[in-house]
Structures are given as C-alpha cells and as structure tokens.
Symmetry: C2
Subunit: 215 residues, 2 copies
Amino acid sequence: MNTRSQPIDREKSYHHGALKGALLDAAEIVLRRDGLEKLTLRATAREAGVSHAAPKNHFDNLTGLLSDLAARGFERFNAEIASPGEAGDTQIDPKQGLREQGRRYVVFAKNNPDLFQLMFRNTRLDYTRSALKTASEAAFAGLTHGTGSASNKLDREGAVGVAFAWSLVHGYAMLMIDGQLNTITKRMIDEIDDMALLDALLGGASDQNTKKGPD
Amino acid sequence: MNTRSQPIDREKSYHHGALKGALLDAAEIVLRRDGLEKLTLRATAREAGVSHAAPKNHFDNLTGLLSDLAARGFERFNAEIASPGEAGDTQIDPKQGLREQGRRYVVFAKNNPDLFQLMFRNTRLDYTRSALKTASEAAFAGLTHGTGSASNKLDREGAVGVAFAWSLVHGYAMLMIDGQLNTITKRMIDEIDDMALLDALLGGASDQNTKKGPD
DNA sequence: CAAATTATATTGACACCGTCAACATATTGC
DNA sequence: GCAATATGTTGACGGTGTCAATATAATTTG
C-alpha cells in the first residue's frame, strides 16, 4: 500500500489504472498457458487480479475481449508475415517471396496455435469492432499484396491466385494445428518434419536437404 | 409420433428404448438448427425429451457424444466423397477425378458447416473412440487413395501430393465456412460464387462457364 | 477546497453448462 | 417371483457469461 510518486502504484489499489491493457495481457497469458477453451472472462479477471465482472467495463462482453485480443494477434501477424522485402521492395524473385510469405504464415500458426485459431475462427468474434476491423483488413490486404495483386480490385486471375495461395497455406496450417497432418507424415517411409514437408510442398524443387527445423 | 406395435410405446414410458440413437439424432438436429456452440449435453437431452443426465449412460461425457456424432459425420463424408468411379474404378481421367473429389470435399463443408467443424476441429473429440477411430481412418485412407497413392506407405512424392491436395481443399473449405473468403470475392471486379471460384481454382482451365451451383 | 459528477471496480444474483452421486424404475436372468 | 443389472431421473456442485445494484476512486465544477 506504499503508493507514492506515480499516480497509482497498482498492487493493491482499488482502481487498477490501465486495466484494459492489463486484461489483454492477462488474456494472452491464459490463452498461451491454458488454451483457447479455458480463455474465459472470469479466468482473465482472475489472472489480472480483479473481480470477475471488471472486464465488462472495458470489453462489454466475451466477444469484445476476444475480438480485441484477436486484433492484437493480427497486428503481430502483420508484422511477422509482411516480407522484409515488402518495405524496401527489394525482392529477388516474386515466386520466392511468395513461398517465404507462405512459410511465415504457417510458422505463425505453429508458434501461436491458439491465437491463430482465435483469429481465424469466426465464432465469438466481432469483425465490426474497430480494432479488429482495421487490423484484420490490413492483414488481408497484405496477403493480396503478397501474391502480386496490389490493386484493391481483383480480376479473375488475381482472385484465383490469391485464393489458391491462401487456401493452400491456411489449410496446411489448420491441418497441422489440428493434428490431422500426422496421418500423412506417419505413413511416410521416412518420416519428415512438418516444416520440411511444407517446404517440399511450397518449394516445388527449391531445396533437397530441407531437414532443418528451426521451429 | 404415434408409434405402436413396437416393444414400447414411448411417449410416456420411463425407459426410452434405443436412446443412444435417438440422442444422436437429437444432437444432429440441435447442431444443424442452433450451431456447434449451442450443441450441449443438456440441449441434446432436452431435444430428445429425456432428463439432462440421461446421455451420461450412453456417452460418458460431452466428448463421447461429440465423438460419436463426428463418427456419423465421417461416415456420411466417406459416402459422399468417395468418387463413384472408385468402386467401379472406371475413371475417365485421374486428374479429373481428383478435381471432382476436391469439389465434393468443399461441397460437404458447405452443406454441413457445423458438422464439418466438429469433425475436423480437434478440441473436445476423442479419436481413440472406436466409432470415430474407424470412421475417420477410413476417411483419411480414402483421401490418400483419391490422389493415386493407394499404398499404405507413402513415399516423399506421394506425401507431398496428398498434403498439397488436402491442404488446398481444406483451406478453401475453412476460409469459406468462416467467411474470410468474402474478403476476396467482394474485391473482385465481377463477383462470382464460392463454388465458381473453387472450380476456377481447381480446374485450371477445365470449364469456362462454371456458373452452375446446385448447392 | 469541498461538493457533485463521472468513471471504474466490486458484489451478488440469475440461468446455463458439465459432471457426479443418490435414487427410482425397468429389464433381464435365474 | 426375485435378485441382479441396465437405464433414466433427481438434485447438487462448481464453473461460465451477464446483468443490476452498490462502492469507491478520479475528475470536474462551483
């Protein structure tokens, strides 16, 4: 209770200060530690050390919390997916860039499986919420940009290209997360890593000894 | 509802007769009518007209009910996906057959979105349950068979082929179900149907006037 | 500076959920 | 007919989201 200097010291103050951010942090912890199923309003409040109804003031309801958390996810997603060559626009090979972007897509899903499912699973998400709306739209715009269709309008060929690339990596990520990909890798003569299979799948014949798996 | 001549008259009998099947039927109704989120043990029992704890005798817990329901889904899935040319083995063109199988995959997802998500979403499913185990294994075997890799063991090329085709259609189905595909179709100059886009995506240049949509 | 107002957090209640134990009833085997 | 078993019901528990009522902090206002 030694509150001094700063406006509030937290710890034991009735008011928490910036609770919204703290709740999102707490939700992220719960999501990563206990999984998407256990991510509840009350668990989040518990993790943040506040009462069970405190989140209502900041998120209205569960959908609000999940949506804002998904928005955070899309921001990270954007930062990680956007090819470094996109900012500087110094691409060596457009096809190679697309492969790299697809690889990052799957890596993100592998490293953040619960967050990934939260972001792309429709249920309990409100895409009209400003935070989620802007972040997700930026993500989708980035995807179309990555396939070469920079314009806002897509012709038939461009749409097919985007849908093709997106479906491929998204399906791979989902099958991988849900464990169904094992039904393939387990039947292989010489089992290989998830990411190695992805490289073989994306690369055509990019690299032969794709035995690396830097998670 | 006027069942007679049968062993029990239902309606008001304490024992229900074949409750397990009736519960699965009820669960299917709830799933289709109220969605996967609302599919609960109690809602199923309510729909079947029995007490809230009745399902426990037949399914142990919620996982049991969902798993058995998913098993039913995989059986229907198998019946619908397996190409008619597979039994008779009278395929015109293997590539054409694969396209047709992929199309059926997406059509199944479109017609049974909640069931599809139940089947392929890992959470709350127990794949070691005999019913689900056999049905799902049959489904996965059918998929590998469809891509030409009939053997139980997959070489590198075969595995890549299966993973490629599966990821493509699975991703498309998921993006379609979750509504994210709209971000593509809405940006198209001339908007087209989900299935038309799929045809263009799968077919390469199979058919030009793919405007049919027999749902 | 004190009072009024607003913002924020707590408490308690409600209906729903899955799950379990205790009980009641029907079916089956002897 | 009676015991044993299978099946269904009832009631309880702790968990959940959500809401209304309350309490407290922060801010504005006079």
